[in-house]
Amino acid sequence: MDGSGSKRIRGGQAAPVRLRNAQVLNLLPFLFFLVCYAFAPRVVNEAQLTTIIYIGIYVLLAVGLNLLMGYAGQISLGHAAFFGIGAYTSGILTAKPIANEVIPGVSVGFAVLSAVALFLLLTRVSGWKLGVGIVLLVLLGWLHNLSSIAPAICAACAVVVMGVFGLVAKVGWSRACVSGAVLAILANVSKWFLRNTLERGGASPWTGLLVGIFLTAVISYLIGSQVLRLRGHYLAMATLAFGVIVEIVFRQWTAVTGGSSDGIFNIPPIQFFSCIPGFMRRFYEMAAGKTVDLRTQYYYLVWAFVFIAIVLAVNIVRSRVGRAFRAVHSSEQAAASLGVDTARYKVQVFVLSACMASVAGTLHAHNAGIGYIHPSEFGFMVSVELVVMVVLGGMASVWGSLFGAAAIQTLKDTLLDLEKTNPEFWGLKLQGLDPIVFGAVLIVVMIVLPQGLVRGFSDGLSALWRGAGRIKKQQGVG
């Protein structure tokens, strides 16, 4: 043991120098990224641009999931659900406003979810207190659904009942009161908002984006705070179940989501260029070298989000909270003994990555020239694809996720093209190949490149580099 230790030490004397260089080098990928971002529309054709837009959406998803899986070490097999919640919220608000007769129910449901999340966040209760709190909030929500009682009375009821419950259950009366008040406020505000949206025939996509993020944050907090107590396989099963349930809701809740026969169509694209100042518009036009059509605008929008997501992710990973995430990954006990509130950080990273998925969902729904969503795009297979992207790109590697997503998306397109030619071998029709191929990719990567594409290659390269350096040094000495 001693021998190998001292060898490691000797090899490491160059390390501090390498680190200082690395801080400058760290900016290089971002610069390279920006250059590619600006000039890509010059070199690619229409179809390729569409693919690149899709890749961007999946990179957003993969980067978010990597924070959760690669850094904090918590698996999610239901991530497509949050993707779907973002897409559906935005799609519904902009293209298929909720019908008048469903509005009260939907707004109360939304208010109850938010109030329960707030109640949980403020009081951090569990067990019977949580159960009673939820039941009370649901009943109070139901009260708001009765049109015969004035909203002010409902609101007073909500505040008083929750306050009394808070006193009796010793969870802090003021906190309980706040959640009651928020229930009342949100129920009425969202009723008003949904009616208003219906009258105007749809909200703006930006509103959709924000509401989607908010709803996703609420739902992911509710799910995460309960489910993340589980570990390993149990966590995988629980998130999988959640994903399946959400997909079923998309399919079955026809009055709101359009169900599985139609989906939602005619979702308007986001007019990126009408939202940015003139000089930026001119800059984009210069970079693209042509008048920027809707598709190209959308490309610029999606990849601007990707850039922001990557910057934020890289920053988070190299910060106090990011270190706490990684600490939770390798030893929860040690992390907790150093003052890391493991439960809190696990929920935090879960919500963060869900919100990133929600943004990706909104961008997916408003995709220029497509504007169509369907439940099957947010099913279990998509969640699995996302996991494969993260693993292929490399766990705990933000840039890796970019390559993982690009590789899988390209592979998917290739398979689709292949299937269009109706290939047949010895009477075996090759259709619906993705699951098989993805499974194979996952297995091969886990065995051959457990660190993922990027880390695997860069390790290989640096091993070569170090090898060359050693030879040079030996020659110098000799």
Binding site: R8, I9, R320, A327, A334, L338
Partner: protein
């Protein structure tokens, strides 16, 4: 009293791993907890640091009852620890490991880290300085940028101590810090612990190396089958018949 337990008990099914234990750690002292294998020493440390819930009894830190607190809350009160089976963050560098140790007293949140607010830079600098200081203290400065898992075992133990110190604890719990160390490394460790004690940090340690324990501790508590059987200065413990019997009994088994 810095740390105090009252009739502390922990059961695993039918087994009573810690049985009605009362003991105190005074501020500034170095106290040792010894006992044969399976006596319940690690369990006791886990209870005090909040990693295991107690079955009954009470734990006070600086006079405050912490039996219902989580480990991170206890850490925030100024208690840090190391583990019998070293638990490093293997996917991080040596320095990053110690930087996680600074978590208890730093407070920048996720938004500040993501957006690189001024507070982030300011605090990050403090954290880095503290980490470098602790690494230098245990003599690991030149290995700062290596992955933690690449260190030899003895250095891993040192890293764990540096990481615990970075949390600026008032009391440091060490679970068998000398196990697996060579004689030379053990005497270096003893010297290090003396310096830590001089800094004003209270130490509660568990170990099987009697010479090491008797050498550095002011007071010794002996645990056998979950029960406290003796407490006193090292000289008293060495001649205590119950202690000798417990150890001989353990050897006879």
């Amino acid at each position: 009293m810095l740390v105090e337990t009252k009739a502390l008990t922990r059961r695993f099914g039918g087994l009573v791993a810690v049985d009605q234990v009362d003991f105190q750690v005074r501020r500034g002292q170095t106290k040792a907890l010894i006992g044969p294998n399976g006596a319940g020493k690690t369990t006791l440390l886990n209870l005090v640091s909040g990693l295991l819930p107690a079955s009954s009894g009470d734990i006070l830190i600086r006079g405050r009852s912490v039996v219902s607190c989580g480990p991170h809350e206890i850490a925030a009160l100024g208690l840090a620890r190391t583990f019998q089976n070293v638990q490093l963050f293997e996917n991080m560098t040596v320095k990053e490991n110690v930087m996680v140790g600074c978590h208890a007293w730093s407070k920048q949140g996720i938004a500040s880290g993501a957006l690189r607010w001024i507070g982030h830079w300011r605090e990050e600098k403090l954290i880095e300085q503290e980490a470098e200081r602790q690494l230098e203290f245990v003599g690991l400065s030149d290995l700062a940028d290596f992955p933690a898992h690449s260190l030899p075992f003895g250095k891993q133990r040192m890293l764990e101590i540096a990481r615990a110190l970075a949390s600026r604890p008032q009391v440091l719990l060490l679970d068998e810090p000398a196990s697996g160390l060579s004689t030379r490394e053990t005497s270096e460790l003893a010297e290090l612990l003396r310096q830590i004690s001089v800094r004003g940090i209270t130490i509660l340690l568990v170990d099987h190396d009697m010479q090491f324990v008797m050498d550095i501790s002011d007071e010794v508590v002996v645990l056998d089958q979950g029960r406290k059987i003796a407490e006193g200065t090292p000289a008293e413990i060495q001649v205590n018949p119950r202690v000798i019997a417990a150890y001989l009994g353990a050897e006879a088994k």
